[in-house]
Symmetry: C2
Subunit: 111 residues, 2 copies
Protein backbone atom coordinates (compact mmCIF):
# COMPACT_ATOMS: atom_id res chain seq x y z
CA UNK A 1 0.00 0.00 0.00
CA UNK A 2 1.47 3.32 -1.13
CA UNK A 3 1.91 5.34 2.09
CA UNK A 4 0.86 8.58 0.43
CA UNK A 5 -2.52 7.14 -0.38
CA UNK A 6 -3.36 7.06 3.33
CA UNK A 7 -2.87 10.75 3.70
CA UNK A 8 -5.95 12.49 4.93
CA UNK A 9 -7.65 9.20 5.75
CA UNK A 10 -5.70 8.34 8.85
CA UNK A 11 -8.08 10.13 11.20
CA UNK A 12 -11.01 8.12 9.94
CA UNK A 13 -9.11 4.86 10.24
CA UNK A 14 -7.95 5.56 13.77
CA UNK A 15 -11.28 6.83 14.97
CA UNK A 16 -13.07 3.91 13.40
CA UNK A 17 -11.16 1.14 15.15
CA UNK A 18 -11.76 2.61 18.59
CA UNK A 19 -15.37 3.47 17.95
CA UNK A 20 -16.78 0.55 19.90
CA UNK A 21 -13.94 -0.24 22.26
CA UNK A 22 -11.18 2.00 23.58
CA UNK A 23 -7.72 0.75 22.64
CA UNK A 24 -4.10 1.72 23.19
CA UNK A 25 -1.76 2.60 20.34
CA UNK A 26 -0.16 -0.76 19.88
CA UNK A 27 -3.53 -2.50 19.86
CA UNK A 28 -4.83 0.03 17.34
CA UNK A 29 -2.01 -0.87 14.97
CA UNK A 30 -2.87 -4.54 15.33
CA UNK A 31 -6.57 -3.88 14.87
CA UNK A 32 -5.89 -1.94 11.68
CA UNK A 33 -3.80 -4.79 10.36
CA UNK A 34 -6.40 -7.36 11.28
CA UNK A 35 -9.40 -5.48 9.93
CA UNK A 36 -7.64 -4.82 6.66
CA UNK A 37 -6.69 -8.43 6.20
CA UNK A 38 -3.04 -7.54 6.51
CA UNK A 39 -3.09 -4.73 3.98
CA UNK A 40 -2.51 -1.93 6.47
CA UNK A 41 0.82 -1.88 8.28
CA UNK A 42 0.83 1.52 9.88
CA UNK A 43 4.14 2.33 11.57
CA UNK A 44 4.32 3.51 15.17
CA UNK A 45 5.85 6.77 14.01
CA UNK A 46 2.60 7.46 12.23
CA UNK A 47 0.12 6.24 14.80
CA UNK A 48 1.43 7.74 18.03
CA UNK A 49 1.78 11.28 16.73
CA UNK A 50 -1.59 11.02 15.01
CA UNK A 51 -3.29 9.91 18.22
CA UNK A 52 -1.72 12.80 20.10
CA UNK A 53 -2.88 15.18 17.40
CA UNK A 54 -6.41 13.79 17.60
CA UNK A 55 -6.35 14.18 21.36
CA UNK A 56 -5.02 17.72 21.09
CA UNK A 57 -7.90 18.77 18.88
CA UNK A 58 -10.41 17.14 21.17
CA UNK A 59 -11.50 14.06 19.26
CA UNK A 60 -9.94 11.65 21.75
CA UNK A 61 -9.15 11.39 25.42
CA UNK A 62 -6.56 9.10 26.88
CA UNK A 63 -5.65 7.52 30.18
CA UNK A 64 -2.69 5.53 31.36
CA UNK A 65 -2.92 2.00 32.64
CA UNK A 66 -0.40 -0.64 33.58
CA UNK A 67 -1.12 -4.15 32.37
CA UNK A 68 1.33 -6.97 32.91
CA UNK A 69 4.03 -4.53 33.90
CA UNK A 70 3.64 -2.47 30.72
CA UNK A 71 2.35 1.02 30.51
CA UNK A 72 -0.48 1.63 28.10
CA UNK A 73 -2.14 4.79 27.00
CA UNK A 74 -5.71 3.94 26.14
CA UNK A 75 -7.65 6.21 23.83
CA UNK A 76 -11.38 6.64 23.56
CA UNK A 77 -13.63 8.82 21.40
CA UNK A 78 -15.08 12.04 22.69
CA UNK A 79 -18.44 13.34 21.48
CA UNK A 80 -16.60 15.51 19.04
CA UNK A 81 -14.56 12.52 17.89
CA UNK A 82 -17.70 10.52 17.28
CA UNK A 83 -19.13 13.35 15.25
CA UNK A 84 -15.88 13.72 13.36
CA UNK A 85 -15.88 10.02 12.57
CA UNK A 86 -19.33 10.28 11.02
CA UNK A 87 -18.22 13.23 8.94
CA UNK A 88 -15.12 11.39 7.85
CA UNK A 89 -17.15 8.36 6.91
CA UNK A 90 -19.45 10.32 4.67
CA UNK A 91 -16.49 12.25 3.27
CA UNK A 92 -14.88 8.92 2.47
CA UNK A 93 -17.92 7.66 0.58
CA UNK A 94 -18.08 10.82 -1.44
CA UNK A 95 -14.38 10.72 -2.09
CA UNK A 96 -14.35 7.06 -3.12
CA UNK A 97 -17.29 7.54 -5.40
CA UNK A 98 -15.76 10.63 -7.00
CA UNK A 99 -12.35 9.07 -7.63
CA UNK A 100 -13.92 5.83 -8.75
CA UNK A 101 -15.99 7.66 -11.32
CA UNK A 102 -13.11 9.65 -12.72
CA UNK A 103 -10.91 6.59 -12.87
CA UNK A 104 -13.47 4.38 -14.54
CA UNK A 105 -12.40 3.81 -18.14
CA UNK A 106 -14.77 3.84 -21.06
CA UNK A 107 -17.53 5.93 -22.52
CA UNK A 108 -18.42 9.28 -21.00
CA UNK A 109 -21.99 10.49 -20.74
CA UNK A 110 -22.41 13.33 -23.23
CA UNK A 111 -18.67 13.72 -23.39
Amino acid sequence: MNPDALRGHMDALLLSVIEDEPLHGYAIIEALQERSGGALSVPTGTVYPALRRLERIGHLTSEWATVGGRRRRTYRLTGSGRKHLEEERSAWHEFASTIGNVLRPGVRPAG
Copy 2:
Protein backbone atom coordinates in the same frame (compact mmCIF):
# COMPACT_ATOMS: atom_id res chain seq x y z
CA MET B 1 -13.00 17.81 -0.72
CA ASN B 2 -10.12 17.68 1.75
CA PRO B 3 -6.99 18.43 -0.30
CA ASP B 4 -4.88 15.88 1.54
CA ALA B 5 -7.21 13.12 0.51
CA LEU B 6 -6.06 13.50 -3.08
CA ARG B 7 -2.50 12.77 -2.18
CA GLY B 8 -1.17 9.74 -3.91
CA HIS B 9 -4.17 9.59 -6.24
CA MET B 10 -3.32 12.56 -8.40
CA ASP B 11 -1.29 10.53 -10.89
CA ALA B 12 -4.18 8.20 -11.51
CA LEU B 13 -6.62 11.07 -11.95
CA LEU B 14 -4.40 12.92 -14.38
CA LEU B 15 -3.47 9.87 -16.39
CA SER B 16 -7.06 8.76 -16.54
CA VAL B 17 -8.50 11.89 -18.11
CA ILE B 18 -6.00 11.88 -20.95
CA GLU B 19 -6.18 8.17 -21.54
CA ASP B 20 -8.35 8.43 -24.63
CA GLU B 21 -7.60 11.93 -25.80
CA PRO B 22 -4.52 14.07 -25.24
CA LEU B 23 -5.30 17.32 -23.42
CA HIS B 24 -3.49 20.41 -22.21
CA GLY B 25 -3.32 21.39 -18.54
CA TYR B 26 -6.21 23.78 -18.47
CA ALA B 27 -8.44 21.31 -20.27
CA ILE B 28 -7.39 18.58 -17.86
CA ILE B 29 -8.54 20.71 -14.95
CA GLU B 30 -11.89 21.23 -16.65
CA ALA B 31 -12.21 17.56 -17.50
CA LEU B 32 -11.53 16.61 -13.89
CA GLN B 33 -14.18 19.02 -12.74
CA GLU B 34 -16.67 17.78 -15.28
CA ARG B 35 -16.10 14.09 -14.75
CA SER B 36 -16.39 14.49 -11.02
CA GLY B 37 -19.64 16.38 -11.27
CA GLY B 38 -17.97 19.47 -9.85
CA ALA B 39 -16.42 17.75 -6.85
CA LEU B 40 -12.82 18.10 -8.00
CA SER B 41 -11.42 21.60 -8.24
CA VAL B 42 -7.74 20.97 -8.66
CA PRO B 43 -5.71 24.19 -8.63
CA THR B 44 -3.26 25.03 -11.38
CA GLY B 45 -0.45 25.02 -8.85
CA THR B 46 -1.13 21.33 -8.37
CA VAL B 47 -1.77 20.26 -11.93
CA TYR B 48 1.07 21.90 -13.83
CA PRO B 49 3.86 20.69 -11.56
CA ALA B 50 2.28 17.23 -11.44
CA LEU B 51 2.15 17.01 -15.23
CA ARG B 52 5.79 18.03 -15.46
CA ARG B 53 6.71 15.41 -12.90
CA LEU B 54 4.79 12.76 -14.81
CA GLU B 55 6.59 13.78 -17.96
CA ARG B 56 9.95 13.76 -16.22
CA ILE B 57 9.48 10.17 -15.10
CA GLY B 58 8.37 9.11 -18.55
CA HIS B 59 4.63 8.59 -18.16
CA LEU B 60 3.73 11.52 -20.42
CA THR B 61 5.06 13.38 -23.39
CA SER B 62 4.06 16.90 -24.33
CA GLU B 63 4.08 19.19 -27.30
CA TRP B 64 3.34 22.85 -27.75
CA ALA B 65 0.61 24.19 -29.96
CA THR B 66 -0.93 27.58 -30.53
CA VAL B 67 -4.70 27.67 -30.76
CA GLY B 68 -6.60 30.93 -31.07
CA GLY B 69 -3.51 32.92 -30.20
CA ARG B 70 -2.89 30.96 -26.99
CA ARG B 71 -0.08 28.60 -26.30
CA ARG B 72 -1.01 25.14 -25.12
CA ARG B 73 1.10 22.29 -23.92
CA THR B 74 -0.70 19.11 -24.81
CA TYR B 75 0.08 15.95 -22.88
CA ARG B 76 -0.39 12.38 -23.99
CA LEU B 77 0.29 9.01 -22.36
CA THR B 78 3.40 7.03 -23.15
CA GLY B 79 3.44 3.24 -23.03
CA SER B 80 4.82 3.45 -19.55
CA GLY B 81 2.10 5.93 -18.61
CA ARG B 82 -0.56 3.58 -19.86
CA LYS B 83 0.91 0.78 -17.84
CA HIS B 84 1.19 3.01 -14.80
CA LEU B 85 -2.46 3.99 -15.16
CA GLU B 86 -3.51 0.36 -15.08
CA GLU B 87 -1.42 -0.23 -11.98
CA GLU B 88 -2.87 2.85 -10.34
CA ARG B 89 -6.36 1.72 -11.16
CA SER B 90 -5.93 -1.63 -9.54
CA ALA B 91 -4.14 -0.01 -6.60
CA TRP B 92 -7.12 2.28 -6.25
CA HIS B 93 -9.58 -0.58 -6.13
CA GLU B 94 -7.56 -2.36 -3.50
CA PHE B 95 -7.16 0.83 -1.52
CA ALA B 96 -10.83 1.74 -1.69
CA SER B 97 -11.88 -1.72 -0.66
CA THR B 98 -9.42 -1.81 2.23
CA ILE B 99 -10.37 1.57 3.64
CA GLY B 100 -14.05 0.90 3.07
CA ASN B 101 -13.81 -2.29 5.08
CA VAL B 102 -11.98 -0.74 7.98
CA LEU B 103 -14.36 2.20 8.06
CA ARG B 104 -17.51 0.12 7.92
CA PRO B 105 -19.19 0.23 11.29
CA GLY B 106 -20.77 -2.77 12.95
CA VAL B 107 -20.01 -6.35 13.77
CA ARG B 108 -16.61 -7.81 13.01
CA PRO B 109 -16.11 -11.33 11.75
CA ALA B 110 -14.57 -13.35 14.57
CA GLY B 111 -13.60 -10.15 16.31
